[in-house]
Symmetry: C2
């Protein structure tokens, strides 16, 4: 393993820990503080913050603390969406990352509040770091909010599941792609670069991730996935497997991984970024998945 | 009625409408867009944004658009907390402001998501307006986030209800006071003024408001209140009425209103602010309430 990802992981975990420590200081209600930590640690692959930091690095990385805050904000927003999506009124999922989901461990009230508190923490983390580069803060918040809020962010994606005939591409783009786009564009903004060349990479990564997630949901056991599987079929949700079948969905995933590599703008740090995408691709589309889909 | 509050009301409603229009543009999932509007319009007294604008005005009001964004952000966060607090896992309240609550009208999934989307909208509204005064944006977000998030904001206040022995003063301060403090301090920051002299006014207003709300919950019919009453007793929640009895709680409310007037820092616009507080006091502590409490 090259040293770069280890360093990025340490930076991400430190940024998350520092922000959470500010949030659950001395006078905080202990149940909510514990629920927030349960939602954030231990994490999954942290793919969105990894991507955010890698793009900031590729763009010169002149404000590393701001890039770390952006990466932490994106991850907090992702964790908040997982906590809320797992709740009884959505997936009613008892497990996440191989442990009880937040509402199973702490009850629905603290699950609901921990999601809310993590959204707020995402923005206060940005503001705390943004004071050193105020000119970038407004753009950072806009880019990240577009990935989360209405009309095209992850809450919109989740809301399409309440509509009778969701437009499939818009639904997928909002449900998963939007936060990947936020991650890549925020990395660029944090480094003072133009974010627009970085949109395509985020879009492709999001689509690849969604395709892999749909395949995992259709194929994997709950033990392998660390969460309930078969959920798309159970909730009659639109999914790439429902649309294209197993083999078609796997072929689409392979195409998308290639498109991710091609979407990386040429820049000084593009080699490290290609390494990151290649590692994620191996993780997303392992040989075993290809065999199951065959 | 003096012209000042009408103007402030128009500014507030316009700011809320402009932000919501950005959020529910063409491609938004229609159910979530409608749920967000239901949560925000028609509003209640809009006391927090009124207070925010009045403080900004009292401080010179040199960036009116930023003050309007701060006022809208505070109101969106308040509306989000009402939507989530009304949900089945908390108050399970069927009505709010005399209409069905959001989860009754749109179901729990869209209620949960509309709260999330309103939190995000609060911050993107700040960022949109903050681009013209970037140096103030970071401070604005910090001041407002402290009123909402952990460890001392409204989500912390709500979370204290899940604890066996909540510290009463901290609970009340977080549950209601924190967002009033955010409103007054944000008004000052938006106008480029030192926010700290404005903390006391927000604290006293929040305590007065909580006292009036506790009394209303104990005394009023659901028709009078526009929402279910008797909730504190039903959920065995700590309340000023449970602590001091009806007469004691009313006496405390009268004291708090006096403290609000005394907490207004002397400044150019303090007369208009005193008018606003007096109008709110008449609304909060009407004669009928005194008779019921006697």
């Amino acid at each position: 393993m090259s040293p770069a990802p280890a360093t990025a992981s340490v930076r991400i975990e430190s940024a998350l820990e520092a922000a959470l420590s500010r949030a659950d200081g001395g006078l905080a209600p202990p149940g909510l503080a514990a629920a927030m930590r349960h939602a954030v640690f231990p994490g999954g692959a942290r793919v969105r913050p990894q991507l955010c930091l890698a793009v900031a690095q590729a763009c010169g990385g002149d404000e590393p603390a701001l890039a770390e805050a952006a990466a932490a904000a994106v991850e907090f927003l992702h964790c908040a969406s997982l906590v809320h999506d797992d709740m009884p009124c959505f997936d009613d999922a008892a497990a996440r990352r191989g442990r009880p989901s937040v509402h199973k461990a702490f009850g629905a009230p603290l699950a609901l509040l921990s999601g809310d508190a993590l959204i707020v923490l995402a923005y206060s983390t940005l503001a705390q770091a943004g004071a050193v580069a105020p000119a970038r803060l407004a753009a950072l918040i806009q880019v990240i909010s577009r990935g989360v809020g209405m009309p095209l962010g992850i809450v919109a994606g989740q809301a399409w599941e309440s509509e009778p005939n969701p437009p499939l591409e818009l639904y997928h783009q909002a449900k998963t792609g939007a936060l990947f786009v936020a991650a890549t564009m925020a990395g660029a903004v944090a480094a003072g670069a133009d974010p627009h060349p970085w949109r395509a990479l985020g879009e492709r990564m999001g689509l690849a991730y969604q395709a892999a997630d749909d395949l995992l949901d259709a194929i994997a056991t709950p033990e392998e996935a660390g969460k309930p599987t078969g959920q798309d079929a159970a909730h009659l949700r639109p999914s790439l497997v429902a649309e294209l079948g197993l083999r078609g969905a796997y072929a689409r995933l392979e195409t998308l991984v290639g498109e991710c590599m091609a979407a990386i703008p040429s820049c000084e740090g593009s080699r490290e970024l290609k390494d990151l995408v290649a590692r994620q691709a191996t993780r997303l589309a392992p040989k075993s998945l290809a065999q199951s889909a065959a």
